[in-house]
């Protein structure tokens, strides 16, 4: 193994890592806001990928252009899911943690079933797009263009999220609600509205990730399952409740995955991610940047 291949692997690992961060940040945002882990996170991703696919198949919208549309669609979807399911799961008096886990887990199965029913279990892919299958060489390192664009979108999304959380009224309402949901009601902030918008925003971020991933990944009803665990680990690694921990967590996961793939057989590449997660939480039980 030469230095060039190592740099090559780490560079693709970094790009994937930034994408993992984008994939996970919606989960971190929702958890930080209301202590709910969405176990249907992977299925949200699946839906976003299908949306991208159908926009391409029926209206020939290139994935690069459909990303904002998919994000907008996912925003609505996330807000609706909050209003029809999560809102009620939050009302449970007993076993609230379990109710949330299993309500969202039931939703995951339901979404998978619906996807099989309406979209069939067939593997789909977007045959030709503006970015698909292209690579670019930067200082002698070859980078796949879709992943590179995904990484740039991820950086931009985290930047926008930072600005949004710190500078806008809604961002501040989000921050305040997450600190004390009871107190914000006293100053006239509707908790339900903030939560619904939080779910919308979190889902829109998955929409961004899904739009990019549809370019270079197969699309099928179970696709979310393989990425959901990576997203949970990414969030936990960064620390639940820390939105920007997800960014760091994603980069670590991407680099660790690339490194493991160089050392162990490719089928074991996830073992490295899981082992690093365990090592980190054994030393820091609340993740790297976690506060709760």
């Amino acid at each position: 193994m030469t230095a060039a291949t190592i740099i090559q692997s780490l560079a693709s690992g970094l790009l994937m890592g930034l994408l993992y961060g984008l994939l996970a940040v919606g989960l971190a945002l929702i958890f930080g806001l209301m202590d709910v882990t969405n176990f249907a996170h992977g299925e949200f991703l699946m839906l976003a990928m299908y949306l991208t696919f159908f926009l391409f198949m029926f209206w020939a919208v290139d994935p690069l252009l459909s990303i904002p549309l998919v994000a907008a669609g996912m925003f609505v979807f996330g807000a609706v899911i909050y209003l029809v399911i999560i809102r009620f799961a939050m009302r449970a008096k007993a076993n609230i943690g379990m109710v949330q886990i299993f309500a969202t887990f039931g939703l995951a199965i339901l979404m998978r079933g619906l996807a099989q029913f309406f979209f069939t279990p067939d593997y789909r892919s977007i045959p030709a797009s503006m970015l698909g299958g292209k690579t670019i060489s930067i200082f002698g390192v070859f980078l796949p263009v879709p992943q590179l664009v995904g990484a740039l979108i991820s950086i931009a999304a985290f930047g926008a999220l930072y600005f949004f959380m710190k500078k806008t009224d809604f961002g501040r309402a989000l921050e305040a609600t997450r600190e004390d949901a009871g107190a914000v009601a006293l100053v006239g902030i509707d908790k339900n509205k903030v939560f619904a918008l939080g779910w919308g925003l979190g889902s829109a971020l998955i929409g961004l990730a899904g739009g990019v991933m549809a370019i270079f990944f197969y699309i099928y009803p179970d696709v979310g399952a393989s990425f959901a665990l990576i997203a949970y680990v990414t969030v936990a690694l960064g620390g639940f409740g820390s939105v920007f921990g997800a960014f760091a967590g994603g980069i670590i996961v991407g680099l660790v995955e690339a490194t493991t793939a160089m050392i162990l057989p490719p089928s074991l590449k996830s073992v490295g991610i899981y082992a690093v997660y365990l090592l980190v939480v054994f030393v820091r039980p609340r993740g790297l940047f976690g506060s709760i």
Partner: protein
């Protein structure tokens, strides 16, 4: 205190009556397909009862119990196919190995709380899955085909009838139930509920929180591995996909959650409703490959967890089921 003792006695009588009825059912139900569902129902009731000891009573939500199930199945199958060791010893060995591994894993993981703990259990089971998937000696992805050596109790193999498996599953279910019943009133039971409700307060009152969790984990893992060993004999073919996946961990937790987490009857009730429903929807409408079974299954889980957060057992008692603390 009296009403608690009375309730416990009533539970024991009810369990004996239900077991007697269950023992008679095969005399009236001869259909092999239905018998198969009954075996699976009893097996999941026992597995969920085992999960409930750690997840329900002690409050440590594990979504990685497939690891122990798989270890039980693999220990039995490997010892039998490679060394000719009878499945009964394999079953016991698998149980002990699982309990020891649960203790070894519990040592670092029980320091974690909430979602960090849940994700750690998922990740550890997933590492186990990947290792078995790549372990050539254990058949890697192809798994292990357990050769048929003729029907006998010694080899715990029965090709002509499901009934021996049915009765073993019934005994297994009763044993798991009885252990839970017995532990519920022991000092462990009280410690576990204290740890679940408020670990910090429990610690300050002298409950050794860490050891309580370790005890619950060992018992739970041991029983789960027994279930895995049974399953290996029942289907006579195992691979990592069929015994160690995340889906399986969820399937073990689900009956307890839907029936009533941290209750004696919750896992039984949950399994009796959930497993036949899963199997029937799978064979009658699942065959279309269009996912209608998943749609129904998912919808039922969502509806039950929203409508009855303390589990279906709440329908049968006036007091909230989650308050298992004796009066």
């Amino acid at each position: 205190m009296d009403s608690f003792t009375q309730r416990r006695r009533r539970d024991l009588i009810l369990a004996a009556a239900l077991a007697a009825i269950a023992a008679c059912v095969p005399f009236f139900v001869k259909d092999v397909y239905v018998q198969n569902i009954m075996v699976l129902t009893l097996m999941y009731a026992a597995l969920s009862q085992a999960w409930n000891i750690l997840g329900g009573y002690c409050g440590q939500i594990s979504l990685g119990h497939a690891l122990y199930f798989g270890l039980g199945a693999y220990t039995t199958a490997l010892l039998f196919t490679k060394f000719g060791v009878l499945p009964w010893f394999g079953m016991l060995g698998g149980g002990i190995i699982s309990a020891l591994i649960a203790l070894a894993l519990g040592y670092p993981t029980f320091r974690l709380r909430g979602h960090y703990f849940v994700i750690a259990t998922i990740v550890i089971a997933e590492i186990g899955f990947l290792l078995f998937h790549n372990w050539d000696y254990a058949g890697a992805a192809l798994g292990i085909d357990i050769p048929v050596r003729g029907d006998s109790w010694a080899k715990f193999q029965f090709t002509r009838s499901k009934l021996p498996f049915y009765y073993f599953a019934l005994v297994f279910c009763c044993v798991a139930w009885f252990i839970t019943w017995w532990l519920e009133d022991s000092k462990w039971g009280f410690w576990w509920r204290a740890v679940k409700d408020n670990p910090d307060a429990a610690e300050s009152l002298g409950v050794v929180v860490f050891n309580s969790k370790m005890g619950a984990a060992a018992v739970s893992a041991f029983l789960t591995a027994i279930g895995g060993a049974f399953y290996a004999q029942f289907v006579s073919y195992i691979d990592p996909e069929s015994v160690m996946t995340f889906q399986f961990s969820l399937l073990m937790a689900l009956p307890a959650v839907l029936g009533g987490i941290g209750t004696l009857w919750g896992p039984v009730l949950g399994a009796v409703i959930l497993i036949p429903m899963t199997e029937l929807t799978r064979s009658f409408i699942g065959g279309s490959g269009r996912g209608v079974d998943l749609i129904l299954y998912g919808a039922v889980i969502v509806v039950i967890s929203l409508a009855r957060p303390d589990g279906l057992i709440g329908l049968f008692s006036r007091r909230p089921a989650s308050k298992g603390v004796p009066q």
